[in-house]
C-alpha cells in the first residue's frame, strides 16, 4: 500500500486542485482529505454511502460558580492565561484553555471539571474514483493532529479491505501539528509550491519538516509561468539540495472554473496544457 501526501508550506498554492486531479486519474484510490480545518474535496466529489462518527478532541475546563470560593489558586496555576477573577468567583475562557487539567486536579473545592469536546466528525464514503475520507474539526477544536491520525487509519483500513493500492493524502496548509500527522510514516510527499515572493521560503520550511520524517520528497511548481524568475530560483535551490522538481504546471484560469463546476481540471478540460502536465505527473508517480 503506497501512501502519497500532498502538502504545501502555505495555503493557496493549488495543493487540493492537484490532489483532486491526481485522484480523478486513478481507477480506484482512497483519497484522504487531511485539511480538517477546511475540508473541501467532499464538495467536489460528493461521496455517497457516508459513514459519520463523532470525534472527541481535547477537553476544556469548566467552573462551577456555586462551589468556587474565589481562592484564585487556579488563576495562579494556569499558564495559558485562561482563568480570571470574575467578581467573587473565577471565569474560564474556553478559547484560552489548553486542556491541561491542572486546575481541575488541584482546585481545593473540586469546583472545576473537564468537559470533552466531541463536536468534530470523521466521515467516509464512496465517490466516483474510490473512497473518500475526511474530517471536520469543530470550530476552535484542538487535537487536529489526532483527527488526521484517525483519518489515516480509516483510509488504510478501507484500502486494505477493498484491495486498493494507493492512498492519496491531501494535507493542510502550514507546517504545524496536523501537517506533521499527515506526513509522518508516508512513503512519499509531494510538495506543491508556487513561484511567489514567499514560495521558495515556504517550500524550504515545508521541506525542513518533511526531512525529519524521511519520506521520498518531490516538488511540483504550480503557476510556474506567473513568475519565471521565481521558478528558476526554486528549481536552482531544489537542484542544490538534491530534490527533484517532478512537474511545472502553468497558470490557467480554467482550474478555478473547473472547481466551480464541481469537476477536477483533468475532467473539465482534459486537453488543456495543464491537464496534460498533470497526467504526466500521474504517470511518473503511479
Amino acid at each position: 500500500m503506497l501512501e502519497t501526501a500532498v502538502i504545501s508550506g502555505k495555503g493557496g498554492t493549488g495543493k487540493s486542485s492537484v490532489s483532486a486531479a491526481l485522484a480523478s486519474l486513478h481507477e480506484r484510490v482512497v483519497l484522504a482529505d487531511c485539511d480538517v480545518d477546511a475540508a473541501n474535496l467532499y464538495l467536489l466529489f460528493r461521496p455517497d454511502e457516508e459513514s459519520s462518527e463523532s470525534f472527541c478532541g481535547g477537553t476544556k475546563a469548566v467552573i462551577d460558580p456555586d462551589r468556587c470560593t474565589g481562592c484564585l489558586r487556579c488563576v495562579a496555576l494556569c499558564r495559558f492565561g485562561a482563568i480570571e477573577p470574575d467578581g467573587k468567583v473565577v471565569s474560564i475562557s474556553e478559547v484560552s484553555c489548553d486542556g491541561c487539567r491542572l486546575c481541575a486536579r488541584l482546585c481545593p473545592e473540586g469546583a472545576i471539571r473537564m468537559v470533552q469536546q466531541c463536536d468534530s466528525r470523521l466521515v467516509s464514503g464512496t465517490f466516483r474514483y474510490g473512497e473518500l475520507v475526511y474530517g471536520r474539526l469543530a470550530p476552535g477544536e484542538e487535537n487536529s493532529g489526532k483527527l488526521v491520525g484517525l483519518i489515516r487509519d480509516r483510509a488504510r483500513s478501507l484500502a486494505s479491505r477493498q484491495g486498493i493500492g494507493h492512498i492519496l493524502l491531501d494535507g493542510p496548509p502550514g507546517i504545524g501539528c496536523p501537517v506533521i500527522s499527515t506526513i509522518s510514516g508516508t512513503g512519499r510527499v509531494l510538495v506543491v509550491t508556487e513561484p511567489s515572493l514567499s514560495g521558495l521560503h515556504d517550500l524550504q520550511r515545508a521541506i525542513a519538516v518533511c526531512r525529519s520524517f524521511g519520506p521520498e520528497i518531490q516538488v511540483v511548481i504550480n503557476k510556474h509561468d506567473l513568475n519565471p524568475e521565481g521558478s528558476r530560483k526554486i528549481i536552482g535551490w531544489c537542484g542544490d539540495n538534491g530534490l527533484r522538481v517532478t512537474a511545472r504546471l502553468p497558470f490557467d484560469p480554467l482550474v478555478v472554473r473547473a472547481m466551480s463546476a464541481g469537476r477536477t481540471i483533468t475532467e473539465y478540460a482534459p486537453d488543456a496544457p495543464v491537464s496534460k502536465k498533470i497526467r504526466n505527473l500521474y504517470d511518473r508517480l503511479f
Binding site: K10, G11, D37, A38, V256
Partner: protein, 291 residues
C-alpha cells in the same frame, strides 16, 4: 481598533489584503501597525523595505528530569494531559517528548520527589521591523518542528498592541486554535474569500466560528468575476457586509506574486482599501474602540 484579516482556506489573499491595507492607510497619514500572525508561513515582511528593530526568541517551559531523584512513581505521567512523558518504571526509563509538551507545568507539581525542574525551549521568534514612512511590522515565526504556533502568535500580538495606532492582524488560515487566538484579539474580522464553492464553504465555517466568538465580520471577495452570484446572494441573505470586491486581474496576481505592493501603483485600489477601513470604523461604532 484591531482588525483581523482572516480566511477559512489558505491562499485566498489574506496577506494581499493585509499588506495593501496597511500601506493604503499609512499613505493617508494614519497611524497603523501590522502584525503577521501566520506564524507557520509568515510572508508579509517581504513586501516592504524593512529595518529590523528587534528580534526576540519566544520560549516555552519544558520539564527536565533528574533521574537520580526519580522514584519512577508515575505521577508526572499521570498528570500530563499531552502524553509527553514516556515512562517504563520496571526498566527505570523516563523520557520527555519535548515536541508534545505544552509547557503547562503539571508534571512539576505532580512530582513529590523534587526530581523535575524546568528549562526553556525556543518555539519561535517575534521580530519587529520598521517600515520607513509606513509604520511597524511585527512578525510571528514558528520554529520548524514545533507543533503549535499559538505561543508565538500570542507573544507577537502582545508586542504589536503596545504600539499606538490601528492594528491589522494577518491571521493564520483555518478555523482552529491559531485562527481563534488571533481573532480573539480583534474588534472586527475581515474574511477574505474567493468566489468558488470551496471559498463559500470555508467562509460559512469561518462565520459560524466568529458568531460563537461574538466577533463582527465582513467579507472581501478576492478574484471576483461574473460567476460569484451565489456568494453575493449568500451575503445578502445573511446580512453580512461585503466590504470590498477585488476583480480577478492577471496583472494583480502577477505583481503580488513578485512581491510588489499592488496598491502602491494603483490609486483606485488604495482608495478602495481606505474606503473599506472607513466602513469598518462605522461598524465598530465610529471609532469608539480606537485607542
Amino acid at each position: 481598533m484591531t482588525i483581523a484579516i482572516a480566511s477559512g482556506k489558505g491562499g485566498t489573499g489574506k496577506t494581499f489584503v493585509s499588506v495593501n491595507l496597511f500601506f493604503s492607510l499609512s499613505e493617508e497619514g494614519r497611524n497603523v501597525v501590522l502584525a503577521d500572525c501566520d506564524a507557520e508561513a509568515p510572508n508579509a515582511a517581504g513586501f516592504f523595505d524593512t529595518q529590523v528593530l528587534s528580534a526576540t526568541h519566544i520560549f516555552q517551559m519544558v520539564p527536565v528530569i533528574n533521574e537520580q531523584a526519580c522514584t519512577w512513581c508515575g505521577r508526572c505521567q499521570e498528570y500530563c494531559a499531552y502524553h509527553a512523558i514516556f515512562l517504563v518504571a520496571s526498566m527505570e526509563v523516563i523520557r520527555v517528548q519535548e515536541d508534545l509538551c505544552h509547557g503547562c507545568g503539571a508534571c512539576l507539581l505532580a512530582c513529590e520527589d523534587g526530581a523535575i525542574t524546568e528549562d526553556k525551549r525556543s518555539v519561535g521568534t517575534v521580530t519587529q521591523f520598521n517600515v520607513p514612512g509606513h509604520g511597524v511590522l511585527t512578525e510571528a515565526r514558528m520554529q520548524t518542528g514545533v507543533m503549535s504556533p499559538v505561543p508565538v502568535i500570542k507573544a507577537a500580538i502582545t508586542r504589536a498592541r503596545s504600539l499606538p495606532g490601528t492594528l491589522i492582524l494577518d491571521a493564520p488560515p483555518g478555523t482552529s486554535c491559531p485562527f481563534i487566538h488571533t481573532v480573539a484579539a480583534a474588534d472586527y474580522v475581515v474574511l477574505v474569500t474567493e468566489p468558488t464553492p470551496f471559498g463559500l464553504s470555508d467562509l460559512k465555517q469561518s462565520l459560524e466560528v466568529l458568531k460563537q466568538l461574538n466577533k463582527p465580520a465582513g467579507v472581501v471577495i478576492n478574484r471576483s468575476g461574473t460567476k460569484d452570484r451565489e456568494m453575493q446572494a449568500f451575503l445578502l441573505q445573511e446580512h453580512i457586509p461585503l466590504l470590498l470586491d477585488i476583480p480577478f486581474e492577471r496583472s494583480i496576481a502577477r505583481d503580488h506574486s513578485r512581491g510588489r505592493l499592488v496598491a502602491a501603483g494603483r490609486a483606485d485600489l488604495q482608495e478602495n482599501f481606505n474606503g473599506m477601513y472607513r466602513k469598518i470604523r462605522q461598524y465598530v461604532g465610529n471609532g469608539s474602540h480606537q485607542r
